[in-house]
């Protein structure tokens, strides 16, 4: 029987699941993921993890608890850096250690370090390490990785054409309510695990779409383009997300084709606290794009999120209605 590898459905799941799934399947193992985030997962996670950790990390603990007895191995990579000269987040870098000390009776954990900060080729070292752990030859692992990479690139291409990653991962599409004249585009900004995890952000994407909003995210632009836009920064940001987010903001300000920006952050996220403040300063200074911040934590009430989204979308549509309403000259 094939070995079952569990890939918890949190954090970088929304960015890399197609890559990881294809890689393990190519290696002859079965990639298994947890159920979508829900109250049960969150409660388990909150009980197991450190009080001070942020919501996505707590949610991840819940996903691990859900998976641990259903699989032969768990894949919890130590993601130190996924791009040159950039880091992700200390908490994600220390994730395997946090999980191991918070949750008892874990199956074997594949916790290879993925650190592309100094050279991007070091991804192969991680691939070989996984091969060694699961007793597979180097060559097979290498070819599995290149197959997985091409699958991942196909996924990225689809996203760049404007399909939301969640629609691809869940294999279903929320269509926009048709025949609405005043649809507009809103940039949903935030870490992938905050904006795509419907169980965590109270289904923000669906709520926006029901209001006739076309949701745009960072993933729909190529990272090369965004880095170019972010190069106006005085000092390069050393967080992968931060660079892309500031690049996206600069792009929206330059192209001026976005009707509103919603920043989804979680309480206690160190990176968001800086990036959100810098993004807001830029938007307010250089543009008139409406901007709002929604902060999530484990106590967030759904009604509050609904109210804020409604108020925001109403404001955009009123603004659009009034912009065409010029007073008569003279």
């Amino acid at each position: 029987m094939n070995k079952r590898v569990g890939i918890p459905g949190g954090l970088y799941f929304y960015k890399f699941y197609p890559l990881w799934e294809s890689f393990f399947n190519e290696l002859g193992m079965e990639a298994v993921t947890s159920i979508p985030s829900c109250r049960k997962i969150l409660d388990d996670g909150v009980n197991a993890s450190n009080d001070e950790a942020c919501l996505p990390v707590k949610m991840y603990h819940g996903h691990v608890i859900h998976l641990k007895d259903r699989v032969d191995m768990l894949f919890i990579p130590r993601l130190t850096s996924i791009s040159k000269n950039e880091y992700i987040c200390p908490k994600i870098g220390g994730l395997p250690d946090m999980i191991r000390h918070a949750i008892k009776n874990l199956p074997p954990v594949i916790d290879v370090e993925i650190n592309l900060r100094d050279k991007e080729k070091s991804i192969l070292e991680a691939v070989y390490k996984i091969a060694r752990i699961s007793g597979i030859s180097k060559n097979k692992a290498k070819s599995a990785y290149s197959k997985a990479l091409s699958d991942y690139r196909a996924f990225r291409e689809k996203v760049k054409r404007g399909v939301l990653p969640t629609d691809i991962l869940e294999k279903k599409i929320y269509p926009l309510p048709s025949k609405r004249i005043d649809t507009y585009k809103v940039l949903l900004l935030g870490h992938q695990y905050n904006i795509y995890d419907a169980g965590m952000n109270m289904n923000i994407i669906k709520k926006l779409k029901n209001k006739g909003v076309e949701v745009v995210t960072i993933d729909m632009s190529s990272s090369g383009e965004l880095r170019e836009y972010a190069s106006t920064l005085n000092k390069k940001m050393f967080w992968n997300f931060g660079t892309l987010a500031i690049g996206m903001i600069n792009k929206c300000i330059r192209e001026n084709n976005i009707d509103g920006i919603v920043y989804v952050m979680t309480f206690g996220c160190g990176i968001d606290s800086f990036v959100c403040s810098m993004a807001e300063r830029r938007i307010r200074k250089f543009s008139e794009i409406p901007f709002t911040v929604i902060t999530l934590d484990e106590h967030t009430g759904e009604a509050g999120v609904d109210t804020r989204i409604e108020a925001f979308t109403d404001m955009i549509s009123w603004r659009r209605a009034d912009e065409n309403n010029f007073s008569a000259p003279g």
Partner: protein, 376 residues
């Protein structure tokens, strides 16, 4: 050009003579105080960490005194400190405060940029003089830390309570007006003599607590409500491995010139935390293990709210606590921390350690206050 710099514990004692020797005018902001924190809280983003808020307060208070340029250190992540310079620049700019920021770092290994910044600061690039100045400054930092550690030893043993605090406080205040390396060295030597002449009860075997955590909140006594002095006055000997001189020598100089660093803490932390994740998380875990091996009675971890690396460390520490049977308490500081609640926890922890030791040594359990000289 009038330079100022943010406070970090006793850093001013080595930075001021450094700037004096390089003929740079400097204005030291008032010691960290409530007003600085309130100013910072008002202007900084809500969720950013405490040191950034206090830094902003330092700058604004120094600006009032006439400073126009800020000198600070940089970093390359993933801890937020490395991006302080940029966010702070934008905050000051948006407030309409006209202050330049000079960041002493070589961004992404660009040494020429560092040279350019030093030229901007000193007006010329006199390499031998700069090396000489930095060497002396690190020497002063090291002796200030030695002095601090001597205080940790004397406090629980002194006969006249409060004598060490008096000498130490006088040392810090007078250091503000001392000029140059020679002057500062004399000042430090004089203080060493004063400390060594304090009468002690050498027969006391005090409880020992190791302090670990994020560097700013552990090193800066004005931010952590003077925890070291207060524990000392409760009759407890404290130690802290993360120091200003350690940060300057190990973190900045040795990292810039690829020299081998003292990585004992990393070895000790390895079974628990397998990689560098930024900030001082690895130091926190490693030093906790080392203190436990050196028979310390307890550990206090201090960090500012939302500090990312320390959250990881905190969630690992229970494992160390269990493996080495050593109590660990975590104190989190932010602008809302009340002194009374904070001190109640510290005192309760001290009581716990004492009754634990009495139990282990077979003495009667309970609070035998005679053992703790500080209470009399």
């Amino acid at each position: 050009m009038k330079i100022t710099f943010p406070h970090l514990g006793n850093t001013y004692i080595c930075v001021k003579p450094l700037l004096d020797e390089l003929n740079i005018d400097c204005i030291i902001p008032p010691f960290n105080n409530r007003e600085a924190l309130e100013l910072g809280t008002r202007h900084a983003p809500e969720c950013c960490c405490l040191p950034l808020k206090i830094n902003i307060g330092n700058y604004l208070q120094a600006y009032k005194k006439g400073a126009d340029t800020i000198l600070m250190a940089g970093g390359c992540g993933p801890c937020r400190f490395g991006y302080y310079c940029e966010l702070q620049r934008e905050i000051l700019e948006d407030m309409g405060i006209d202050m330049k920021i000079i960041v002493l770092e070589a961004p992404y290994g660009n040494v020429w940029e560092l040279v350019r910044r030093i030229v901007k600061l000193t007006g010329a690039f006199n390499l031998p003089k700069i090396i000489w100045a930095f060497k002396n400054a690190s020497r002063i930092a090291i002796s200030v830390d030695k002095l601090e550690k001597l205080c940790f030893k004397i406090r629980p043993r002194e006969l006249n309570k409060g004598e060490t605090d008096g000498v130490y406080k006088k040392f810090r205040t007078e250091a503000l007006s001392v000029k140059g390396f020679r002057g500062m060295e004399k000042h430090i030597a004089k203080t060493f003599d004063e400390l060594n002449s304090i009468k002690m009860n050498k027969s006391i075997e005090p409880l020992k607590i190791g302090i670990v955590g994020e560097i700013y909140t552990t090193v800066d006594s004005n931010t952590n409500f003077n925890i070291e002095a207060r524990l000392g006055n409760l009759g407890i000997q404290v130690d802290r491995s993360v120091t200003v001189s350690g940060w300057i020598v190990e973190h900045m100089i040795k990292k810039a010139l690829p020299l081998p660093r003292d990585m004992e803490f990393a070895k000790a932390a390895y079974p628990y935390l397998g990689a560098m994740i930024g900030g001082h998380a690895r130091e926190t875990v490693g030093n906790t293990v080392l203190y436990a091996k050196n028979n310390y009675d307890g550990i206090i971890q201090i960090y500012p709210l939302t500090c990312m690396p320390e959250i990881v460390a905190e969630s690992i520490l229970p494992a160390v606590e269990k493996d080495y049977d050593i109590p660990v308490m975590t104190l989190i500081i932010d602008e809302m921390t009340g002194e009374a609640g904070y001190m109640t926890r510290v005192e309760a922890f001290a009581d716990l350690l004492e009754s634990r030791r009495n139990k282990n040594t077979g003495q009667k359990a309970g609070f035998d206050l005679t053992l703790r000289s500080g209470n009399i």
